[in-house]
Subunit: 714 residues, 2 copies
Amino acid sequence: MRSALHDFLAPNSIAIVGASADPTKRGYKAMVGLLNDGYEGAIYPINPKADEIMGVKAYASLADLPAAADMALICTPAKTLPALLKQCGENGVKGAIILASGFAEVDAAGAALEQQVLEAAQQADVRIVGPNTSGIFNLHKKVNLLALDNVKPGDIGIISQSGNMLLSLALEAQYNGHIGFSTYAGPGNQTDVDFADYLQYLGEEENTRVATFYVEGFKDGRAFLDVARQTSKQKPVVVYKSGSTEAGQKAASSHTGALAGSYQMTVDLLRQVGVNVVENSDEILPVAEGLGLLQQAAGKRVAVLADGGGQATIASDRISEAGLELAELSETTRNALANILFPQASLANPVDVAGSTDAHPALLADCMAILAADANVDMVFLVGMFGGYSIRFAEELKEEELACADAIIELSKRTSKPLIIDSLYAHIKPTPLQRLREAGLPVYASIEHAVKIMAALGERGAYIQSSQQAENNAPLVVNEDCSASFRKAHAEGRDLFEFEAKSLLRSYGVDVPLEMIVRSESELAGVIKAFGDTPLAMKVVSKDILHKSDAGGVKLNISGEAALNVARDEILASCQQYKADAEIEGVLVTPMARKGIEVIIGMSRDPIFGPVLMFGLGGIFVEILKDVAFRAIPLSRHDARSMIDQIKARKILEGVRGEAAVDKEALVDLLMKVSAIVDAHPDIAELDLNPVIAYDDGYAVVDARVIVDQETQK
Amino acid sequence: MRSALHDFLAPNSIAIVGASADPTKRGYKAMVGLLNDGYEGAIYPINPKADEIMGVKAYASLADLPAAADMALICTPAKTLPALLKQCGENGVKGAIILASGFAEVDAAGAALEQQVLEAAQQADVRIVGPNTSGIFNLHKKVNLLALDNVKPGDIGIISQSGNMLLSLALEAQYNGHIGFSTYAGPGNQTDVDFADYLQYLGEEENTRVATFYVEGFKDGRAFLDVARQTSKQKPVVVYKSGSTEAGQKAASSHTGALAGSYQMTVDLLRQVGVNVVENSDEILPVAEGLGLLQQAAGKRVAVLADGGGQATIASDRISEAGLELAELSETTRNALANILFPQASLANPVDVAGSTDAHPALLADCMAILAADANVDMVFLVGMFGGYSIRFAEELKEEELACADAIIELSKRTSKPLIIDSLYAHIKPTPLQRLREAGLPVYASIEHAVKIMAALGERGAYIQSSQQAENNAPLVVNEDCSASFRKAHAEGRDLFEFEAKSLLRSYGVDVPLEMIVRSESELAGVIKAFGDTPLAMKVVSKDILHKSDAGGVKLNISGEAALNVARDEILASCQQYKADAEIEGVLVTPMARKGIEVIIGMSRDPIFGPVLMFGLGGIFVEILKDVAFRAIPLSRHDARSMIDQIKARKILEGVRGEAAVDKEALVDLLMKVSAIVDAHPDIAELDLNPVIAYDDGYAVVDARVIVDQETQK
C-alpha cells in the first residue's frame, strides 16, 4: 500500500497555524521559506489577529479556509493540539507537522498530553509529524518550511532526529557545491509517523535516490527492518545510528529520550536488511552521495589508478582494512596499460603511472576505461593529482584535463561499474573537477572517505546479490507435544525443564545427544544398559534450581553403576542443602560429549527489534571479548552463514593447529532450525544453547535453556 | 651534538648544479622557487654552457665559485655523482641534495653506484639528502627548491617519503588558510641522512613546533626511536606509517623499495617513545596542527560544550571510542553554568546549552571559561554552530560572535588547557572563525577529526607525565656461569638447552620452578625424594630435537617412581624413533605447574628496530587473534605496565568469573628482568618464555627457549 505521507509531504496547499510577521516566531520562518522559494501551491496563514501576513491573506481558523489544506504546520503551544487536530480532521487536513515540545520528552504530564494528541489525531484521521519536530522540507515542491538558505533540490532524502545534523549536512552540501536534497523530516517524538513510515515514503518518492537517516533511537525497530528489507533492494538506505558507546547513549537519551538498545545488535540487524550503516558522522553525506550518484558495484574488487606512490600505498592499506580487495588485473589489461604508459609504470594493482601522465593527463581516462573493461574489476578508483595538472605542471594542460574530465563522464555513462575519484585538488575546485561534479560524479578530498564509499558500494553490491538468492525457511509444522510442554509450563508458572527444552529441539530435528531422566535409584541400571561404559554426565532436574553448578547439581565423567549411584546421592544431598524446599524431579544422565569447539546460540526478544538470534564462540569470546553476531529472526541461509563469518574468532572454526574445520553447514542448519522454532513458538521468551559443541561432522547441543513468556496464552 | 643538517638545510648560499632556463628541467624549477620567494642568500647556478640563468651569473663548475656554497642542489644524472661529490668536498659544500634516481631502488648496478656515491660523500665530508629525493624547502629561509605555490612559512616541519603527500598536505593547508610549514625534506633512498637525522634536526630547529613524518619504511628504526625519545619531550612528533596491511606494504615496496616490518610493532615502538602515530592520512595535517598550536593537555578528561543534542551525542560517542573520558564536572562548575544558561540546558557533560546561546552567542566563551577552570577538566571542546549564529539566526549577532571569538582567544592565552573548536560552519569560513584561525586557534569541520586531535593531545599529555617518572632498569651484573653457557653453546654450534635457558633466567632472579635433569635410570629415585608425590612433568633434553611434543618427548601428570620409569623409557624410545641419530642428554623432570593464566613473553632482534619484547596471552590470543604488545628493549617500568594494559584480553588478567586478578606487578618485574637479561647478553638472538603461568601471587616460567646468535663472539 502506498504511503499515506505522500498526501501531505508533497502538499498542494499548506495551512500555517500560528503564522506570524514576528521574525522571532517559527510561523514567520515558515512563511519566509515558502515565499522565498516560490512555493506554487496555496498558502493559508492562520492567525485570528491578522488579515494578512507578509502580503498573504490570513484566516482566523482552519474552518475559514476556502479549500482544504493538505498539510497544516502547527506552531502553537502543546496544549492547543488536541482541539486543533480535531479541527484539522473536520477540515480535510491530511497531515499535521507539530513543532511544539513539552510532551513525553519532558515528564509524565507531557506524556499524557502526547497520548491525547495521538488519540485526537487518530479519531480525526490526521497523520502527525512530531511533536517536537524541527520541521520538514520538500525542495522539489518548493516547500522549505525551515527557511534554510542555500539548500537545493536533489537526490538525497534525509530524516534526522537532530535539526543541527541536518544543518551540518546542508552546510557540507553547500560547500561541496553539487549535492541537493529531496525531502527532510525531523521525526521528533515519533508519536504517529515513525522511521519506518518515513523510509517507506522515501522508498516510493521518485525524486529520492538515497534515503538517509540520523537516528538516536528507533521506536519500532522491527517495522523499520521490514520496510528496509524491501526498500534497500530498490534504492540505497543509509543510516547513522548514534549511541555506539554508553556515553553517547546517555547523551542521546537526554536529547530525545531515545531508548538506545545494543549498538552492535542494531548495526548487525540493519546490515542484515541491506542498510548501509555509516559509523562516523563526517561520512554520512559522502556515503549517501556516492551510493546515490554512482553505479552499483557487483563486488568488492577495486582497481586503483594513481599518479603517485604515496597515494597508491595509502589507498592499498585502506582498501584492505575496509574488507575490499585489490583486483587481480588480467593480462589483457596489463598489456593495454603497458601500451600507453612509461616502462617504469607499475602495472600491478595499484597501477602507478610513474610520471606517464605528467604531460598527458588525458591518459588517465584511457587507463580508467581499460581498467573498467577488465572482468576482474568491480570498481575503478582514480587517486592523485587529477584536476591539478595545469596548476602543478603547466597551464597549457588545462584543455587536456577538461577533455579528460569529459572522457571520464562519457565512460561513466558507458560502463556499469562505479568510477570513484579522489583528488589532492578537490578542495581547490579547479574546473576539470567542477565539470565532473556538474555531471553528477562526486570528487572526494580524502582517500579515507573515498574508501568508505567503495566499501559501502561493495557491501550494497553483495547484499543485492545475496538477496536475489535468499533461501528462506519454510515455516515449521508445530509439534503438538511441544505445545503441550509450553501449556504445562504456563500452568505451573515455570520455564521449560532442560529435558523439555532438549526434547523440543529434538522434535524439530536438532541434534541433541541422548539422555535419560532418572527419578529413582532403580532406574540407574537402565542407564548403564542404554549408554554402555562411556563416561557420563549427570545434572539435577528441578524447576527451583536455576544455577545447577552452584547448587552442586552437576557431576561429570562418571563411569560405572557404583559411581553413578554415588554421584546421584551427592547431587541430591547437595541440592537439598542448597535449597531445602527445592522440588527435585530427578537427575538427567547423558554421555560426556566428544571434544570439539564450543559455540553459543542465544535468542531473546528485543523490545525494539523483536526476536533476535545471537551467535558466538563459547567462554571468554562471548563474555569478555563480546565477539558475537546478531540477526533478526527469521533468518535466511545467507544470514546464518554471514553471522558465522562475521565473528573475529572465525579462524578457530576454520581449524587451527592442524585441526579440521568445523562443519559450518551443520551450524547453518542449526541456526535456521532455531530461527524456525522461535517463529513457531511465540511462548519462547528466551532460548540459550550453551554450549553447542561443533565438530567436523555435525554438532551436539549439550545444554539448552528455554525461558517461557508467562504473558503469552495458548 | 648539534645536527650537521643545520649547516646546509638553512643555507646562506646555494649552488644549483644543472641550473637551467628550460622549464621542463628541475634546475629551472629551483631557480624559479628561489627567485620568486626572494631568497636572500647567494645563488650560484652551475652550467658550463651558460653565462647567466634567469639574470643570475652562472659558473662552469663548483671550483669557479667566488665563495663556498653551503648547499648544492644536484640536478644532473646518477652517473655524474661520485665526481661531483668530490668537487663538493673540495669546494666547501656541506650538504648535497641529490635528485637523480637510478640507484638501489632500480637494480644491483644502481645499488653499487649508490654505495660509490656514499663513499665519495664520506671521503669528501659532504652530507647527502637522497638520492632519489623530491627535494627540500626551508620557508623561513625562503629556500623553496620545489617552487611550490601557496605554501607559507609556519610551524610544521615535514619529512615525507612521497612528494605527492607533501603536495597533498600543502593543498590542504592552502585551503585551510592558516597553516604554514618550516622545513620539508624528501629522504629518498636515505643513503646518508635518514629519518633519525631529520628528526634530530627538526627537534633543534627553532621555527619548527611539530615534526611530522610520512614514512614508507625506516632504514635504522632504532636510531629513530633513540632520537624520538628525547625530541618528543620537547615538541610533538607525528608519524604516519604506511603499510598497515600486506597490500600497502607491497605497494610501498614497489614505490620506495621500503622494508616494511610489522606495522603493529612499529606503531607500538613509536608510541613507546612518545610519537603520536596517526592512522589515517587525512588526519596528518589536523593532528600536526592541533599538537603544534594548542596547549598541552595534562590528561584525557574532556568537557564538551554543544549547542545541539545531535553534535553532543556524536562527540560523546567518539570521545569514548577514542579512549578519552567525559570529565565529571564539579558542582561549582554546574552552578556557574546554571547561572548563565536556560533551565532546560543539560549541565552534565556533554553540556548542551539548549537554545541559551541562540540570541547570545557570547555566552559560549563564558561557558568555556567556566569549564576550563574546573580542575576535573583537561581540555574543552566547543562543538556546534559557533561562527554561524549570524547566518542562522540574525545578522545582528555578528558583532557578538566576533566578541566571543576574541574572548575565546583571550581565554586560550590565559588557560593552560587546550581549547578545541569544531563548527558546522568551518567550511564556510565566516569571520568569527577566521579570527580564531588568525590567532592560531584551529577550527575543525569534522567531529571525528577534532576527537582524533584530542586523543593525540591526551596521549601526548600522558607520555610527558609518564616520561617524567620513568623508572629504568639498572644494568645487570653479568653472571659468569651464564656467559660460560653461551660460550659452550657457541662452541657446539647449538642453542641453549631448556635447562640452561632456565638456569640463565633463574640466576638473574626469574621465578622458574625447580627441575632436575635425569641422565640415567638410577637418578629417578632422587627425583621422587626431591619432589615428593606431587604430579610431575617430563621432557626430553636433546639439542637435536626442537619440537619435543612432536617427537613424543613430553609426558605430563606422572605420579610415582614406577610411572616415572615407564615415562622415561617411552620418551627415549619415541625420540629415538623420531630421529635415530639424535644425541639425547637425558630428561628434565619438574612438578606440574598449578593452574593459572598462560601468558607469553618473546624477544627477537628486529632488523630495523633491534631488540624488541612481545607480550600476550597464551594460545589463540597470540596465534589467532594477534592480541600482542611490543616494546623496544630496554623497557621502563611504565613501558612494562603499559604493554600489559594494552592487550585487548587484559580483562582476563584482571579476573573473570570471580577469579582473582593476576599479580600484575610480578609480570612487570618479569618483563623488566627479561629486558635487562637481553641487554646484558648480546648472544641472545631470540628468547621465548611460553608459557609463563601467571598467578594471583607471582608467576612460573614453565618453558623457556633461548636461540643463540652464532655470529656474536665472546
